[in-house]
Symmetry: C2
Amino acid sequence: MRLPQAAERLDTRRELWPDEVRIRVERLNLDAASFRQLERKHGGDGAAVRAEVLDIVRTRGKMQNPETGSGGMLVGTVEEVGPESPLGLAVGDRVATLVSLTLTPLVIEDDLSRWDGRSEQVPCDGYAVLFGRSIAAVLPDDLPAELSLAVMDVCGAPALTARVVEKYDQAVVAVIGGGGKSGSLSLAAARRAGAKRTIGVVPREAEAALLREAGLADEVVVCDARDPIALRDAVTAAGGPADVTVVCVDVPGCEGGAILATADRGTVVFFSMATSFSAAALGAEGLAADVTMLVGTGYTPGHAAYALELLRENPGVRGLFERRRG
Amino acid sequence: MRLPQAAERLDTRRELWPDEVRIRVERLNLDAASFRQLERKHGGDGAAVRAEVLDIVRTRGKMQNPETGSGGMLVGTVEEVGPESPLGLAVGDRVATLVSLTLTPLVIEDDLSRWDGRSEQVPCDGYAVLFGRSIAAVLPDDLPAELSLAVMDVCGAPALTARVVEKYDQAVVAVIGGGGKSGSLSLAAARRAGAKRTIGVVPREAEAALLREAGLADEVVVCDARDPIALRDAVTAAGGPADVTVVCVDVPGCEGGAILATADRGTVVFFSMATSFSAAALGAEGLAADVTMLVGTGYTPGHAAYALELLRENPGVRGLFERRRG
């Protein structure tokens, strides 16, 4: 048997198993890398993009871009709850799914007629099925839905960052890509978890200015994280090496620099899907670096609520998120 | 600047920087995957395999198979030690390098004339240069060199396994691929580190019989680790779920099963280079699995000495190693 993500095609029956939940879908948020690939492939022809998304979902029973392998998430309302569902949802709850669309059986019933194919936000009528081990979060009333979604999309990073930082006594924490969504939340999480010093690394001066203004990091440095020696030197100069290095930039080739920027017995947390397992493993071996390296998972219990709390209590985080949406 | 592993070509000057060490090479051990690829490519023509290895080393200044990306290790004698070398080696020491050949500047001086191109053991005269951050271990007197090398080749696994198991109180430990070199050492390490129960998972009954005879695991189960549900069920039936799951099999697609076989708040350690970062990260997210996932690095201080000690004190481990060499 194969798990849903590896499966070519999912079963999309409406009828639920006892531990499942059916959602009436109102919107899909396509993964950014997936949408960009489709846009490029069709030269920005929205109708062609829409036709391909419909074809993928019809063929595979889920939205998983065959090129990028990625999916996205969805928003909808709970339509039916199986008697043995462990998810704690009730009919009528407005929820966002926190598991990838690549694992979620999906049927589109309106041919995406309200979508022009030109944005990753896809208005949609149809249904999706959540399993017993899926994750969905009820959208809070006090925040705009889009803002909550943007936070939930990356909420694994701050929760795991906090858990790792708490294991150290007054850690120095470097967040590579500290100006982004997962990065800014991770900086806020590190500070709240007791970090002695937080260092935000960003690729460009403009982003550095925004991050400084947001006040989320004790030090903000500009550096190309793909240059290992430059990254080590930048983090060291800013008060490193880091006890905890959090990699949040979605570009390949940051493994070596992250390892070099980290102190002996320190921890590197890789959240970027561009991370290469063998580059990380062989890199640490080749550098004789005694660091713990974690695969950043998307799941820690309570992670969505925790990330939303960080956003509420940090105007700097909220400002960065709202600016990105604008 | 690029780190040595990513570099196309290394500098192979004989002259040392103050923190370097030069080794007179007596043998290369090619990575098994690399040798098999070369053998297949040239249809078992040893002369052609030899010519390609010579060409790779001449062109790149290191032995790194361009197809597999992998290298191997080498054995030799210390020829010169830079005044600032931190490696603790003395001229005349017989050593094995514990960093990959993909990071080691190498010059072959005998055209590999004593090698028939038909085995991954390559008699060789030439020199190699170790950096300040390299790792090399002096070969012990009480063990055959080949046995020591086989142990050192996988010595990162037992050391990290022990470190993880020690963090739990009486852990249940499952080792996927428990009959192999890194697997059998990891089972021995887990028991020594205080595991309450050790479970060895192997793919075939013949291997299970050998592992049972070696007495390294409390339970030995036969299971295809690429089948996630089967692996979860097998580990559970043997006394799981595991607090610590160690993945030592070099086949792709074991991430989901390893995650499912692991208890909440447990740890999965991936030593297999066949591990996919995104399959691990998205798999844990998709299954809402609250597990810590570690990139198994090749380096923990003292790892070679620790692994040799495990071999000396466990006749079962030694038996499995000697059988593999036979």
